[in-house]
Symmetry: C2
Subunit: 224 residues, 2 copies
């Protein structure tokens, strides 16, 4: 059903989705502290009481947005790992798949919600702790796969487990800044970020080429 | 001379430095929008009029803090390039030097001021444009050196100039997040971030080892 929203705009979104979408825009543009639930309700074109039917407060809205920038990736890790095990794929293929899917999650997050994870409020408030845990879980998956790839190398200047997870997550999050600057996240960008992650894990080019091939097959099966 | 600051604390800092230091803490902890020049003056233990003697407004304070997270690196690029030319050092050595110095700048920025560059206000307001330009200049230096290093490689999945600059700057800025989480930026971390940058530029391990050796000599001469 079409509903008339603020400014005469017609929206086909579900109310909950529309609240999230519009709140994300306000949080990014004005800041979280400067945005009230009243501002959000007005911008959506609903009464504040209707907003409270969906969300208890603005922290809950931000929490949900943050989760959406990370959960879709996390929820697929188990599936990726079991598919990879079936296919006999190694940690380099798995890392490639994980990076590509994570880049896509960030590229698809409404209004570049990944930016919101950098708000000072998010770093401090306990209410966003579930997001912090989810992010740690993701960094841990990167660290786990990364150390399996570096394991064969005796080189100096090899990152330890924690630093490797942090570096890989940091590389993937380049997408957040790129979206902020209006860049499109193309398949070429996905492939280069994934290859860069493998390079940071000391994989050589032959291994990266093979991982990329097998990764695209696996992503095909995941999405079938 | 020792001055009595808020809370009975004795400060040996110059007033201008102390305003910057305390403002950085407030901007990071409370957010930029929620901090007034009055709050800053009170926290420093001076009158608001005295603060205005040093800075016209809080934007100017934030602007100066942002510059300090990037200028010390930028100002040395020319010197690095001329020293490297004398020593006959290639782009891999130069990149290694630049990354280590940039990591140190970020590690030394008062109250982790690099975090402030992520405030939504900084992304939007024209008043912070000089910081944006300085950051572009730095990204450009990374892109220039990076493409000289990748030039010999015919591999697929090689980042183009812009993406390479963006990826390298992103890797270096891992230090900001690490400091936020209370990690120390050790010489080992500097070396690993620099090696990771060279890996993203497709440099092999022998080349990285040599670049690291020569880079530490060059950094020695720079700091002598």
């Amino acid at each position: 059903m079409l509903r008339q929203a603020a400014g005469g705009r017609l929206s086909r979104m579900e109310p909950r989705e529309e609240i999230l979408d519009i709140a994300a825009g306000l949080f990014v543009d004005r800041g979280f502290a400067a945005t009230s639930t009243r501002d959000i309700a007005e911008a959506v074109g609903i009464r504040q009481a209707s907003l409270y039917f969906h969300f208890a407060n603005k922290e809950e809205i931000l929490g949900e947005l943050l989760q959406r920038s990370i959960r879709p990736t996390l929820d697929r890790i188990e599936k990726i790992e079991s598919l990879a095990a079936e296919a006999g794929a190694g940690p380099d293929v798995l890392l490639h798949v994980l990076v590509v899917l994570d880049v896509r999650t960030l590229a698809a997050a409404p209004r570049n919600a990944g930016v919101l994870s950098r708000l000072p409020e998010v770093q401090r408030k306990d209410v966003f702790e579930p997001f912090g845990s989810a992010r740690n879980e993701l960094r841990d998956a990167y660290a786990r796969l990364g150390t399996q790839i570096t394991a064969g190398h005796a080189a100096a200047m090899t990152p330890d487990r924690d630093l490797l997870g942090t570096l890989l997550l940091q590389l993937v999050e380049v997408v957040i800044g790129m979206r902020s600057h209006g860049h499109r996240i193309t398949p070429a960008v996905e492939a280069i970020v994934a290859a860069s992650c493998l390079r940071v894990c000391l994989a050589d080019q032959a291994r990266i080429d093979e991982a990329a091939d097998r990764a695209s097959d696996l992503i095909g099966s995941l999405e079938a």
